[in-house]
Symmetry: C2
Subunit: 289 residues, 2 copies
């Protein structure tokens, strides 16, 4: 049913080779022949079989994107925005995007293994990096090109791009201080995430730089979901000695927190969101031509 090279070749009484080379624009096929090939290929609705091309060319024109999910259904909307950007840019360059969702854990490593060894993708995108991230060591070891969105503890030797969370925290805290707040709470994210560590360091630094003490009771850990944002905010604001301002590690927990505030008829302060970028400055994935 689908049109193959040999169908075009038969139609025009040419060899498959010539048809292939005509379509690829090689100079060893006469202009008239090229025209004939182009015309009938278009007329017959020929589109090359991607699988065969990949096998022969030994590249898939596909980049892999593994979305970390907590639980079977949940996924941070943050990733949907990211994906739109990735998808559009990939399409512009004629790349496919192969996505997988997997919860962090032992089987995550299996998924990466299969993607790498089975040669489904030419390279990968790694998001939500951990301080010591097994995915990155695995990719480095395998020699598969990749770019990380986020850093690791020793973030050298590979290309990454990241939000400058430290600057974000600094600006946010200074903003709160300027508003007169001295009792600032912090709804943090899981400690094994690198961005969590970076923001925590920044938090302590800017606090002490302003002669404020960090009250450990006001620092709680959530799992990045709206649910814990809500719950932890409730706990913080239910304390006898309670903070007057709250900082959140991500949007979703902040949204949960704001919902909780409204429910209790507490007014949330204005939201404050940054997206300053920084990069490793290293060359990123090779994109040919």
């Amino acid at each position: 049913m689908p049109v193959r090279l040999k169908d075009i070749a038969a139609q025009l009484d040419l060899s498959v080779t010539t048809v292939s080379r005509a379509l690829a624009g090689y100079s060893d096929v006469s202009p008239q022949t090229r025209e004939r090939v182009l015309a009938t290929a278009a007329a017959m609705g020929y589109v090359p079989d991607a699988t065969a091309q990949r096998l022969q060319k030994q590249r898939t024109n596909t980049i892999g994107f593994i979305v970390p999910t907590f639980g079977p259904r949940f996924s941070d909307p943050f990733f949907s925005e990211l994906m739109a950007g990735i998808g559009n840019e990939a399409a512009r360059r004629n790349y496919d995007v192969l996505i997988s969702t997997v919860a962090p854990g032992p089987e995550e490593s299996e998924v990466y293994n299969r993607h790498i060894k089975s040669r489904r993708v030419d390279g990968m995108l790694v998001v939500r990096t951990r301080r010591d991230d097994p995915r990155i060591s695995k990719l480095l070891e395998a020699g598969l090109p990749f770019v990380a969105f986020g850093r690791t503890e020793t973030s050298s030797g590979y290309p990454w791009i990241d939000t400058d969370g430290a600057t974000g925290v600094e600006l946010a805290v200074q903003h709160l201080i300027a508003l007169g707040h001295r009792n600032i709470g912090f709804v943090r994210s899981p400690e094994f995430l690198m961005f969590s560590a970076l923001r925590w360091d920044a938090f302590r630094q800017v606090m002490s730089a302003n002669d404020l003490t960090v009250n450990p009771q006001w620092v709680l850990h959530g799992d990045l979901t709206q649910g814990t944002g809500k719950a932890l905010t409730g706990r913080l604001l239910g304390m006898g000695q309670r903070p007057t301002a709250l900082l959140y590690d991500n949007d979703l927990m902040a949204l949960g927190g704001m919902a909780r505030c409204r429910k209790e008829a507490w007014l949330p302060a204005a939201t404050f969101r940054l997206s300053v970028l920084t990069t490793s400055g290293q060359p990123s994935m090779l994109i040919p031509r």
Copy 2:
């Protein structure tokens, strides 16, 4: 560098055929041989080349998912939740998910064409259906298996699954009426979307069934984004003669509307969200074995 079948074959002094059949579990290879093959394959870290398998088997074990985006970066978080479910279930069945993002329009058709003709996928998922959806006619014509999330004007002849928006609207309006509202506004979605038409019909029906008139001035069209939700809510509540309750076609616009309400210190009513499902009852995509 990567391990191939022939490497294992050479190592064990067997033919490629036997190694392949041993791994596939055929009965025409002796138990001892199978053991040897399995052991060395594992030891050498063999993972079959997905591309070669696909070419030979003539199936890709991949399903395509084209996310409609408005603008270059925007994507409804609704799709990220959907995608988590799709991704996990696909992984469970050893399927890959190939995603593309494309804005509705002429080039959308091109993307579908390429996916279909190039044999990248075995089947597709279609979301956010239009009343007369060219993607569906194209897929039917091409004979490519697919499932639609959403219906079309003539929604027969193909498998679909959909939220029962009509029932949702009915329950929501009855709820508002029970609260004493008679002046109900409706922030609708683009009319070419099927779910928009279904919900609009349901709205008019439940209104007239309760002897309420639909004020056309209170029915506005948004583009499903938070932005228009906010703007249209402002317009509605700024009218001299204004509605006392508002219905929104989707979460995002409702969120924008609630933000606008808070900003003006209007209290939003409790939110009300349904997810009743309905299906075509038709067999869905063939998944082998």
